[in-house]
Symmetry: C2
């Protein structure tokens, strides 16, 4: 079952219809001819994919949204899913490492939830096969939300508004771990990056991004080799790579596949949507700015058997680095408000 990306769908269709005309129009501002080949790869999808086992319904998404913003999901009643996946910060938290109920920060950065509907696996090490299976990991982890499943179920069952909402969506199954997972996952699939200047450019508006960004896009797909992993419209292949930075016991997906040479130090490729406003960077928040990220890739990282073949010194000029950043900035949507619900009490 799929859910139409309302206005986006219409905008996409309209611009697509005009594109052929525009493409042949004499005097249209130059877009590199080879950009046409990228349009199919980078065009925003028209629908969010929902799995057959958990189809979309507006009521389920609305219930999931309430759960997502409700701090009774933490032992302290202070932290909600939205605390670490803050809609005001493109669904991340702006910190180097995630904070939870524990006294110290966690080992990894809170990932953005943008476009998780398209991710084949979830988590920096990919240990979750789908969004449904992620939900309870942060809820029950002591360092994170620290709430036993039975406590959560009891808290929800004590709130008539939740009892009614679960009955309305799930019938007599009511409030269970399973239905909480289904509702949360349905809402989280609706967390999709908004239309950005890059999207308008891909759809044919030659002036939607500037010359530096256009050069940066060429570099991104060429000399800088970014697109090898940051591919497709969410700018992530959803896969796992050692980019030559993690060390020691921070082995990422290597923990799950200890015999794999290539998965040691491999972490999930994050989406680059809204990336310019999602500092600090990397799975451990160890890099402060986009310029530092570019420098890191330019140096090429630790040379070792697990390192991706795409990673080696790039020899980028200062202008090329600036162009790459100019391109990455075109992936940010304009500021927009996110509506948070009144919580049942």
């Amino acid at each position: 079952m799929r859910w139409k990306l309302g206005g986006i769908l219409i905008a996409t269709m309209t611009v697509s219809a005009l594109l052929t005309l525009w493409w042949q129009a004499p005097g249209a501002q130059a877009v590199p001819r080879e950009t046409t080949a990228w349009q199919d790869e980078y065009r925003r999808p028209q629908e969010i994919p929902f799995p057959d086992q958990n189809p979309y319904s507006a009521e389920k998404a609305a219930l999931g949204r309430m759960l997502f913003f409700d701090p009774i999901f933490s032992a302290s009643r202070f932290i909600s899913c939205a605390s670490c996946h803050n809609p005001g910060l493109s669904w991340g938290d702006g910190r180097a490492r995630a904070q939870g109920e524990g006294p110290s920060a966690m080992d990894l950065r809170s990932p953005t939830l943008l476009n998780d509907a398209w991710m084949p696996r979830l988590g920096w090490d990919g240990k979750f096969r789908d969004i449904e299976s992620v939900a309870f990991a942060p809820i029950t982890a002591a360092a994170n939300m620290n709430l036993p499943e039975e406590t959560l179920l009891a808290r929800l069952a004590a709130i008539p508004g939740y009892v009614r909402a679960f009955a309305g969506v799930f019938g007599k199954e009511g409030i269970t771990r399973h239905t909480i997972e289904l509702a949360l996952a349905t809402y989280e699939r609706t967390i999709v990056s908004q239309d950005a200047p890059f999207d308008r450019w891909i759809e044919g508006d030659a002036d939607a991004i500037g010359p530096a960004a256009k050069r940066g896009f060429e570099l991104f797909n060429g000399k800088a080799r970014c697109a090898g992993c940051h591919s497709g419209w969410p700018f992530s292949d959803g896969s796992f790579h050692d980019i030559g930075t993690a060390r020691d016991r921070d082995i990422g997906r290597g923990r799950i596949f200890p015999s794999s040479v290539k998965l040691k130090y491999a972490f999930k490729t994050p989406t680059l949507r809204d990336v310019a406003r999602r500092a600090p960077y990397m799975h451990d928040g160890s890099v402060a700015t986009l310029a530092d990220v570019i420098d890191l890739y330019d140096r090429g990282g630790i040379d070792r058997p697990s390192r991706s073949e795409l990673i080696s010194p790039l020899g980028l000029s200062e202008l090329e680095k600036a162009d790459l950043i100019a391109f990455l900035e075109t992936l940010s949507s304009p500021p927009h408000d996110v509506e948070v619900p009144t919580l049942p009490r």
Copy 2:
């Protein structure tokens, strides 16, 4: 300078215009004749009062809203004003005691921000003379957001979006403690309780609340003596009373006026708007449910010189207690979404 309560204004005027007709209509469902006397006292205002020293502007409120939701206002970059004043929980936090950066909870409950624009003094002990003067107390307090003023100013000054926004609103004064206070206070004054069934009843819709709630309103203003302190449309006199519950060193406004007999153990009368969804109750969150609150007042509290003259055993029947709760529930607005902004980064 005042800011019209948009839709509310229109709704109020329309209903008011019809009220005279309705009031004389034969066969209209009975509302106690004496309710007319209460209409002026309990009618929602048409405008938010903004002080001359800090007049409303849409740009200032929008900037204040960003500051309010931004977690860089805490040392950890994890807690924003909205963490303790959560729009999903009627601008409180649903906890007995406020949580902050400190390892343990604070001494007092996070108060709702609803209708603070009408409060003559802020804080459970009233130590703040206006909203502007509140802002930095939680920001800099070690147990709360724990952020030195200079660190906050440096963080904001490092974000171009904030530099532009402050310059746009405050000109060359830019980012200062003073301008942060002005912006936050302007936004917070716009946090106003939404239209509730009680408001529709006061405006003449006889069926907007049920018979139990109507009886409860009579009790509220009569035998139960609630309206002596919970007066006016926000259901608070904005003043300070010992209701006979605080003990020991928890002396509230007595700390500020140590020679006053009546202010020992006196705390600010909170608004009752949305009260049914703002458990737990009292300044220290020590009472779990509205039924427990009613029982507490029914018992009359500790007999001592500071205790309010309005507090003594009430002799309420179980039906009367239920009626009071039915009335209090009519002060909750229907669920509505609150928009949170994308934060500058």
